[in-house]
């Protein structure tokens, strides 16, 4: 996001309070959020120095180190009577002309060069306080600074040379005659200048410029604004200038790729002329690297006005320039372009190209419009004749090309958000004038202005519309004044306004967009706060209540809720022994996963919940009981969702098609438990989490959801085939599994042996219980009778079977049947076990008689014996 040097900003708008924080606050008010304030992080002494001598010494590590004596004026070591200075220990035996000793590892400078030295007591950005120290066998009083050390740029390949009178070193272009040893370099280098970085929302493309920010600052504070683009363009637009043809045969979404192309020549330019130091400094403060005068000027004007520019070497161009889409190429070979960065780009037929006519009309691509220029026609150190381009490109065309080629540039960033279509001739004029000022040459009197821009349609708005939308009163005069302040042309037609937006505000395309302008110029802070009254609501839905109840019950049962990512490796299903034909293999796959190995969505919550268990075990926990309420995703939809119209004409059938495209995404709850459920304590022995606890938690969930489930043994991954149950709704729909995990799964996933788990599909339970009201039965006042039975049964007979036989046989008098003891061992015949059940009986209308109880007893024994081969012990 753009960095705005405040001194530059102040050239076009009066800063009411120049403190960066105050400028930031003013910009926030109109919608430009501060991202940071930069600069001002260097404190002195940072001074100009002249390198008097360089003593090169090779070190044992192979590096050559320079011991430099630098004349820093008033900061030199104190001279002796002979006028010479002596160094600090260990250089105290040598004498030098007035100077200070500094050790430097860079080699891009020579004796006589002017440099910037930070001396002891100074502080570099970091902050790094600088002191004198002994190093490489010398005493070094600070450093000769690089651009990076001063936070002026990224360059750390050498130190900054301010001026090189001998011409032997590459310098920043300062006038050596104007420099004095010991002069403050902080002000000289602009290091005391602050830069404010702001976020630009996508509707404000014009704010990618000093011009736009200055205008917004003026809106916020009322300060006087001078439009840097308000300048007369000299010369004439003429067909006699360099011919440019706009030939877009395939506009995107009905908009041509280029509707204005201004080109103008500068001849006799001195390509060796340096950029002025102030320009380089502002470029660096704005985050751009100075390159050469011509390139620096194009960037400078872009930063100032917001219009991207491109300079061609006129001598390398063959007229006419043709702006067209890339050709699809014959036999599948795409057209290519070698861009400025020396990369060969295969072009897409949607890419808009600047071409010239080497080899035929529009045959040679010389740039990807609005994104990056071509290498062939780039200006070089030898270019004396320049053709400067300023064009107006379609935002979508440029955005697609930049994205397609992953080539975001300063130019594309601006075009994507929209550039003022009135700028091209002005920007060219401004840029060529700067090039001429610092590099000489003649600006051609005629220039090309091809194409025709369409005016932005005026918006009609009722004058009280802003008041109605915002909920505060905006007098008509204020509405008009605000819209005019942002550059609109406003015509009053009775109760309505016809508002023609300025060329830099293509986003103002509807009355509501004008409301925002009126409101923000008043300031959002002025808005009243009025709580609206909603109609009476229906409260939480059944499903929402059930989910809360389930989560709370599990937490009450000692489990901790966690949230895991739904991203999963498909191999997790193999680790969990899920069979190849299992429904859970219908995985939803991501086109662009964060990690290639986790490219699918979990089909069930349990599969990713294991990860949370491992995290806790890895951090030293031994007893872990976690649960998660979330969704599992199955690729059961049609898989392709269309894009119906957004004008309100969408039909129920189209909406149904959208829903049909989506994967199944059932809500469910899963839990994994390992270690001790009850730790050993002073009043109890430890109890481990075991299979029955997992089953019990399913019953807890079911109770919280208001349903009772049936269960039977089931073999289902990832559970132990002999120690897990499937649960079903009263209508037989399976909806839960629980039990001990398969020993192999525990081993593969690194879970302790005999870890247990459950998973309950909540959506089917919620659907089943939705709207079902409990029909209350009267509570019997009669006395209860209890009877115990101990049966020896074949080992295969389950408790569930015994209970259901007993219940059935006992008939309506039986209130509850409960297995209270199971025994297999020496006292019982091999292949058999003993199960003891307690039966509670009660009648609704009378106290049970001895005969009643006896008849139940006999019926129970007969049924158990007959149906299960049970023997009463």
């Amino acid at each position: 996001m753009p960095k705005i040097p405040l001194k530059w900003l102040a050239e076009y708008v009066d800063l009411v309070d120049p403190a960066p924080e105050a400028v930031a606050a003013a910009l926030v008010k109109v919608g430009l959020e501060e991202e940071g304030i930069h600069g001002g992080a260097v404190s002195g002494p940072l001074v100009v120095g002249r390198v008097l001598s360089i003593l090169k010494e090779e070190q044992s590590n192979g590096k050559t180190i320079n011991y430099c004596r630098v004349d820093v004026g008033d900061h030199n070591d104190p001279p002796g009577q002979d006028g010479l200075v002596r160094g600090h220990k260990p250089d105290h035996n040598d004498t030098f002309p007035p100077s200070r000793g500094i050790v430097c590892g860079a080699h891009n400078f020579v004796e006589g060069d002017w440099v910037a030295c930070i001396l002891p007591g100074g502080v570099l950005p970091g902050p790094f306080p600088i002191g004198g120290r002994k190093t490489y066998g010398h005493w070094s009083d600070g450093m000769i600074c690089s651009a990076k050390e001063l936070a002026l740029g990224d360059d750390h390949t050498g130190i900054i040379v301010l001026a090189s009178p001998s011409g032997a070193s590459e310098d920043l272009g300062y006038d050596a005659d104007a420099l004095a040893p010991g002069q403050d370099a902080i002000a000289l280098l602009g290091l005391d200048e602050k830069t404010i970085e702001v976020t630009i929302t996508p509707d404000r493309g014009y704010c990618f410029s000093i011009r736009g920010i200055a205008r917004e600052y003026s809106h916020s504070t009322g300060a006087a604004f001078t439009d840097p683009a308000a300048m007369a363009v000299s010369g004439t637009a003429s067909d006699a200038a360099f011919p440019v043809l706009l030939e877009d045969a395939a506009p995107i979404r009905g908009t041509v790729g280029c509707d204005r192309f201004v080109a103008r020549a500068l001849r006799g330019f001195n390509p060796g002329a340096p950029s002025p130091a102030w320009m380089k400094r502002r470029l660096e403060q704005s985050g751009m690297r100075p390159i050469s005068l011509a390139v620096d000027v194009t960037n400078y004007v872009m930063l100032e006005l917001g219009q991207p520019l491109h300079a061609y070497d006129l001598g390398k161009l063959t007229a006419p320039i043709v702006v067209r889409r890339a050709s699809a190429g014959v036999d599948g070979t795409a057209e290519t372009l070698v861009t400025l960065d020396d990369a060969t780009r295969a072009l897409d037929p949607e890419d808009l190209l600047i071409t010239d006519s080497v080899g035929g009309h529009g045959k040679r691509a010389i740039g990807m419009a609005g994104v990056m220029g071509g290498l062939d026609t780039e200006i070089s150190e030898a270019t004396t004749d320049i053709l400067l381009e300023a064009a107006h490109f379609d935002a979508i065309t440029i955005a697609r090309t930049a994205r397609r080629h992953k080539l975001g540039s300063e130019a594309s960033r601006r075009f994507e958000r929209g550039v003022d279509s009135a700028l091209p001739p002005v920007a060219v004029q401004r840029a060529l004038a700067l090039m001429q000022e610092f590099g000489g040459g003649e600006i051609e009197d005629v220039y090309t202005d091809a194409g025709e821009t369409t005016e932005i349609d005026p918006v009609t708005m009722e004058i009280d519309f802003p008041s109605r939308i915002v909920g505060m009163d905006f007098p008509a005069d204020e509405v008009v004044a605000s819209l005019e302040a942002i550059g609109c042309h406003v015509t009053r037609l009775g109760d309505e306004l016809a508002v023609a937006p300025p060329t830099w505000r293509p986003d103002l395309d509807a009355p509501v967009t004008l409301v925002e302008e009126v409101a923000r110029l008043r300031g959002y802070a002025e808005m009243p706060s009025v709580l609206p009254v909603a109609p009476p609501g229906r409260g939480l839905t059944h499903g929402q209540k059930v989910r809360r109840s389930v989560a709370r019950s599990l937490a009450d049962a000692g489990l901790t809720e966690v949230l895991t990512y739904p991203f999963m490796a498909p191999e997790r299903l193999d680790e969990c022994l899920v069979p190849a034909d299992d429904k859970r293999r219908k995985l939803v796959r991501l086109a662009n996963p964060l990690a290639a190995e986790r490219a699918v969505l979990r089909p069930r919550v349990l599969f990713t919940l294991f990860d949370a268990v491992r995290v806790n075990l890895g951090r030293g926990a031994q007893d872990v009981a976690v649960f998660e309420v979330g969704r599992g995703y199955l690729d059961t939809g049609t898989g392709v969702a269309g894009l119906p119209a957004v004008d309100g004409s969408v039909t129920d059938a189209e909406l149904a098609d959208l829903d049909a495209a989506l994967p199944e995404q059932l809500r469910m709850v899963a839990g994994v438990m390992t270690g001790s459920r009850v730790p050993a304590g002073w009043n109890q022995p430890a109890a481990a989490w075991e299979w029955s606890d997992a089953l019990a938690l399913v019953e807890t969930v079911a109770a919280a959801a208001g349903v009772s489930l049936t269960r039977r043994a089931d073999s289902y991954a990832p559970w132990h085939p002999g120690r897990a149950a499937v649960f079903a709704l009263p209508d037989g729909t399976p909806c839960a599994h629980a039990g001990e995990l398969h020993p192999k799964v525990c081993e593969t996933l690194g879970l302790p042996a005999r870890s247990v788990a459950f998973q309950v599909l909540l959506d089917p339970i919620i659907a089943f219980t939705e709207g079902v009201l409990v029909a209350a039965e009267a509570v019997s006042q009669q006395v209860v009778a209890k009877e115990d039975f101990a049966f020896v049964v074949p080992a295969a007979v389950t408790a569930g079977a015994l209970v259901s036989v007993v219940r059935e046989a006992g008939g309506s008098l039986v209130e509850d049947v409960r297995v209270f003891d199971v025994y297999a061992g020496a006292q019982v015949e091999a292949g058999h076990k003993s199960m003891a059940v307690n039966v509670r009986m009660r009648a609704a209308d009378h106290t049970l008689t001895a005969e009643d109880v006896l008849s139940v007893r006999e019926a129970v024994i007969a049924a158990a014996t007959g149906q299960l081969g049970a023997v009463l012990r």
Binding site: V530, L531, A534, L554, G558, L563, P663, N683
Partner: protein, 379 residues
């Protein structure tokens, strides 16, 4: 000792005195029992004397009966009184002896906990349910149309690019040319994404409720919490899976002042009666005018330039909001000339972070139970 004669008044009085003094001398209930047996048992002088009444002549019988009856009553009262004293002493002693160490651990099993992101969502929903709003939900894997198009995201909007949105892969068996909804120039996709915000639920809720709006004049007031996804790598302040809560109100004559009023109410309910909000202009495709919503830093109240919660700015960025764009209402089949609407949304993670001083987002997502356990059952 010689037998006590039933008519020996002095003797009886002495026997009573002896009994009372024996009772008084007893320091335990056992000693009292011995004293009782000695003075009222079968062999006790008074008992024997009582037995002798039968042998007396008529008038003497009555005299002796009265004398001995009075004596027995006196002894009984003394015994009862002493028993009460000694029993009270014993009870007091036993209660002291039975005292336990109440600082021993008493939870037989550790307590569980809810995840604070879930309970905070519920808390925020409850604030709105209390105002009559309803909680609306929708799918997490969502059609692009709901996630983008219906929300006025242009097909070329940068947010639709691959770098922000998780796209569901097109099935290999599907027509490779599908390309539906995929950004031009990107890999063809299924038109299905992991929703990048909870805003698609606004469209679903509006579509479901628009008939009641038009026919019954019942304004739509919904709050939409849930999981959202963006392709951010996990770090201290970003997570690819996060939670949002959004509100949508559609009614006749709703204004931006109503939006501000709603946000102020939420802020006060969550952060206390002194909470202050600030709106500043911003941009979202689905609202116009749009605003960012900031909360006055409730740690430093804007008074500390080194405050770590607000980074010295005095304001905490909380969420985005605005007046729902007419195109969005239109997509949901609602006439923007008849009805106006506002919408707002904020991140639950962010809200939890600054409300509870959570420093690192990774703590919320890694599944370490110690994080949830700090919060217990409610936030």
């Amino acid at each position: 000792m010689s037998d006590l004669h039933p008519l020996d008044a002095d003797g009886v009085e002495a026997a009573v005195a002896a009994a009372i003094s024996a009772f008084d001398a007893a320091t335990t209930l056992d000693e009292l029992k011995e004293a009782r047996l000695a003075h009222t048992g079968d062999k006790a002088p008074l008992t024997l004397a009582n037995r002798g009444i039968g042998a007396l002549a008529g008038p003497d019988k009555a005299t002796a009966g009265k004398l001995l009856g009075g004596a027995r009553a006196s002894i009984g009262r003394a015994l009862a009184a002493r028993t009460e004293v000694l029993e009270a002493e014993r009870d007091a002693r036993v209660l002291v002896e039975e005292a336990v160490d109440v600082t021993l651990p008493v939870l037989r099993a550790p307590l569980g906990a809810r995840h604070p992101l879930e309970t905070l969502q519920e808390t925020m929903c409850d604030i709105f349910v209390g105002m009559g709003w309803e909680v609306a939900e929708g799918p997490e894997v969502e059609a692009e149309w709901f996630n983008f198009d219906a929300l006025n995201f242009d097909p070329d909007h940068p947010a639709r690019a691959m770098q922000d949105t998780f796209f569901v892969a097109a099935r290999e068996t599907d027509d490779a040319g599908a390309g539906l909804g995929g950004q031009a120039g990107e890999t063809p996709t299924s038109g299905v994404v992991l929703r990048t915000h909870t805003s698609p639920v606004q469209i679903r809720a509006a579509l479901e409720r628009k008939d009641a709006l038009v026919n019954e004049g019942r304004g739509i007031y919904v709050i939409c919490p849930g999981k959202t996804f963006r392709t951010d790598e996990l770090d201290a302040t970003h997570t690819p899976v996060f939670h949002q809560i959004e509100g949508l109100a559609v009614d006749r004559g709703l204004t931006m002042a109503n939006l501000k009023g709603t946000l102020d109410h939420l802020a006060r309910a969550l952060f206390g009666p002194d909470a202050v909000t600030r709106l500043r202009p911003s941009y979202f495709p689905f609202t116009e005018p749009s605003a960012e919503m900031d909360l006055r830093c409730f740690i430093c109240d804007g008074g500390d330039t080194s405050c770590r919660t607000c980074r010295g700015t005095g304001w905490i960025e909380w969420g985005g909001c605005g007046m729902t764009h007419p195109n969005v209402l239109r997509a949901a089949g609602i006439d923007p000339d008849e009805y106006t609407a506002f919408a707002f949304g904020m991140g639950i993670e962010r809200t939890l972070m600054f409300r509870h001083g959570v420093k690192d987002m990774r703590d919320m997502v890694e599944g370490d139970v110690r994080f949830s356990q700090q919060f217990g059952m409610e936030v």
